[in-house]
């Protein structure tokens, strides 16, 4: 457990007091990062409600690429386990799905249940890195990117374009599936592209079964979406400035708020690793970071408090991508480190004692 105030080592009590003073003095505080276990996210939303702050997870661009399309047109989705167990055709979009262990796992198995059980599994890629290690049929993306490519493919799938083009062949392969899945990273495809993809999947479901498997961001964004929904009824970018939770993805984009000078103080919550924002050293900020992380140092922010890392030194409920749920994760080597939730609750309690509460 360590803490720093203005670069100097401090005890946690003094750092909490300094954090309370910093946040209480601000007009438009922002709680950003939110790469943390569910209990810490819950404490952050409670603190924001007390303080009148807004919240923005670091995974915002990925989340809103998915949520923007979902909120307007809905989505047909499946899980990783269903994909491995049932899919006879898997279309992999872009480069990012190839980074993890998902594609090798899909490639190593064949459908074992459902209508495609016993069939061969065919892997197709669109705009991928043409990875030679996994056998698949590769289609190049259009110059305009994945979203444009998906529109072009959908025009062939609908029969609005015809001919012997590569995408006509790809569309035929998709319609030939008994249980098809498209694997993609929402941030890479973009909101317009995700909406087009869901339209394509709806078209394919006119005659077969097809689903989307969107990769979760690595910063607990999916957990933040669920927590924000059950806490505020809204997606994560909410503000409590006017007491009621207001959802506005543009207004509460923390990078925009800080770049425009609207936000005058921030709390950066990252008990799990998260990309360090460029404003961390400039704006008056309270940083709550995992012990042993590169950010656990006095120069990171005006006030820095280290906390236990969920899954490492403390337990915590985290997004489990394999199962697609929030699940409790035991610590690998439990210590008596304070939790991020505990620190946030202490800051909130002191704010209430000082009369800052609503």
């Amino acid at each position: 457990m360590a803490a720093w105030v203005k670069g100097g080592a401090a005890d946690v009590d003094a750092a909490v007091e300094a954090a309370v003073d910093l946040l209480a003095a601000s007009r438009v505080p922002v709680l950003a990062g939110l790469s943390a276990e569910v209990s810490a996210l819950r404490a952050a939303y409670r603190l924001a409600e007390t303080l009148g702050a807004s919240l923005d997870p670091v995974s915002g661009p990925s989340l809103y690429a998915e949520l923007g399309a979902l909120s307007v047109g809905g989505a047909m989705t499946t899980t990783r386990a269903e994909t491995v167990g049932r899919a006879d055709v898997v279309l992999i979009l872009g480069n990012r799905p190839w980074d993890g262990d998902l594609i090798p796992e899909i490639a190593a198995a064949t459908p074992s249940r459902g209508r495609a059980a016993g069939a061969e599994r065919s892997l197709l890629s669109l705009g991928g890195p043409q990875n030679g290690a996994t056998r698949h049929v590769a289609y190049a993306a259009e110059a305009g990117g994945l979203a444009v490519s998906l529109g072009h493919l959908r025009a062939f799938a609908k029969g609005h374009l015809a001919g012997e083009a590569a995408y006509a062949d790809l569309a035929r392969r998709l319609f030939a599936a008994q249980y098809g899945v498209v694997v993609y990273d929402p941030e890479e495809v973009g909101e317009r592209g995700v909406e087009m993809l869901q339209g394509l999947i709806r078209d394919l479901n006119e005659s077969t079964r097809f689903f989307a498997l969107a990769l979760a961001d690595p910063f607990q964004g999916r957990a933040a979406v669920q927590l924000s929904a059950w806490t505020t009824g809204q997606a994560p970018r909410v503000g409590f400035g006017r007491y009621q939770p207001e959802h506005d993805p543009w207004r509460f984009d923390s990078a925009r708020q800080i770049a425009s000078g609207e936000a005058d103080a921030a709390l950066w919550l990252a008990s799990l690793p998260a990309p360090r924002p460029d404003w961390l050293g400039r704006l008056p900020t309270v940083a709550i970071v995992g012990e042993g992380s590169p950010e656990a140092a006095g120069e990171t922010a005006e006030i820095v408090i280290t906390v236990g890392v969920p899954g490492q030194s403390v337990g915590g409920a985290l997004w489990n991508e394999r199962r697609g749920v929030i699940a409790y994760t035991e610590p690998k080597a439990a210590t008596d480190a304070q939790t991020a939730a505990g620190v946030l609750a202490r800051i909130r309690d002191r704010l209430i004692e000082k009369g800052v509460s609503c």
């Binding site: 909120s71 072009h152 025009a155 609005h160 006017r242 543009w250 425009s260 609503c358």
Partner: protein, 265 residues
């Protein structure tokens, strides 16, 4: 004519949703001064931010602008509002009737969901002008939006009804359009009409075209002549664009494909 004169730089974004001539007509200046417009816990009021002069008329002038003035003229149903300066996001959101004029530039989502009236931005407009906000089914929905300068990206995104005129536009103009008309005297950016279902885009030029737009010739359409007449009544520079021969592209074939893009042949 009632006036609100901005006292100085705004310390936070303010929400002018409830500040319309109709809403102010029944209030004294002291009562109006107590209206909450702030978006933080500090309780900023109209009187804190503006010097207020009210005469009960149906026209309101806001002297001095700021990119932090959100939802100016939102839900306006009668009368006029003129802003001498810039405004923030959602200018005229959901406006039903009346006249809204901004002499400076507007932030994003100008005229989103506006069903009637005329909204004029004499400077530039940000991204998603006439476009839909998060989770909204439609962007511009029947009103007329005139942008004399440049519009940002996603002009008229998910627009459903009405007309947008602009000097130029960024990428993805007319994306996911449901219907309506956009006329841009200058050039559009890349990929206009992405996912458009119906509607009409007319522009002086364009960036990269989608592969799902196909050329359908240079038809001589009565509709274009009628549109030119109505644009002349609006006094719009865009009317000149319609005088010559126009090349027509049909799209977006990825969706319904009943949209069209016209550019000078």
């Amino acid at each position: 004519m009632s006036t609100l004169r901005l006292r100085g730089d705004l310390p936070e974004r303010v929400d002018l949703l409830n500040i319309t001539p109709l809403a102010l007509s029944g209030l004294s200046e002291a009562e109006a001064g107590r209206l909450a417009i702030g978006t933080s816990r500090r309780g900023l009021t109209l009187g804190d931010a503006f010097e207020i002069k009210l005469d009960g008329s149906d026209s309101l002038v806001i002297e001095g602008g700021s990119s932090r003035l959100d939802r100016v003229g939102a839900a306006l149903s009668q009368g006029s509002i003129r802003v001498e300066g810039d405004v923030g996001q959602r200018l005229g959101e959901g406006m039903a009737a009346g006249t809204l004029t901004v002499t400076g530039s507007a932030g994003p989502y100008a005229a989103t969901g506006a069903t009637g009236g005329t909204i004029t931005v004499e400077g530039d407009a940000g991204d998603h002008a006439g476009g839909a906000v998060y989770a909204a089914k439609a962007g511009l929905d029947g009103a007329t939006l005139i942008i004399k300068g440049a519009a940002g990206d996603s002009l008229g995104d998910r627009m459903r009804k009405g007309m947008i005129l602009a000097g130029s536009a960024g990428a993805h103009a007319g994306s996911r359009m449901i219907a309506g008309t956009i006329v841009v005297s200058g050039a559009l950016g890349d990929h206009p009409g992405y996912g458009m279902r119906r509607g009409t885009l007319i522009a002086g030029g364009h960036g990269a075209l989608l592969p799902t737009f196909v050329e359908t010739g240079t038809p001589d359409l009565v509709f274009v002549r009628l549109l030119a007449q109505s644009l002349k009544r609006l006094g719009a520079a865009q009317a000149d664009l319609l005088g010559g021969t126009l090349r027509r592209y049909s799209g977006d074939l990825a969706t319904l494909g009943k949209g069209e893009l016209f550019v000078p042949a």
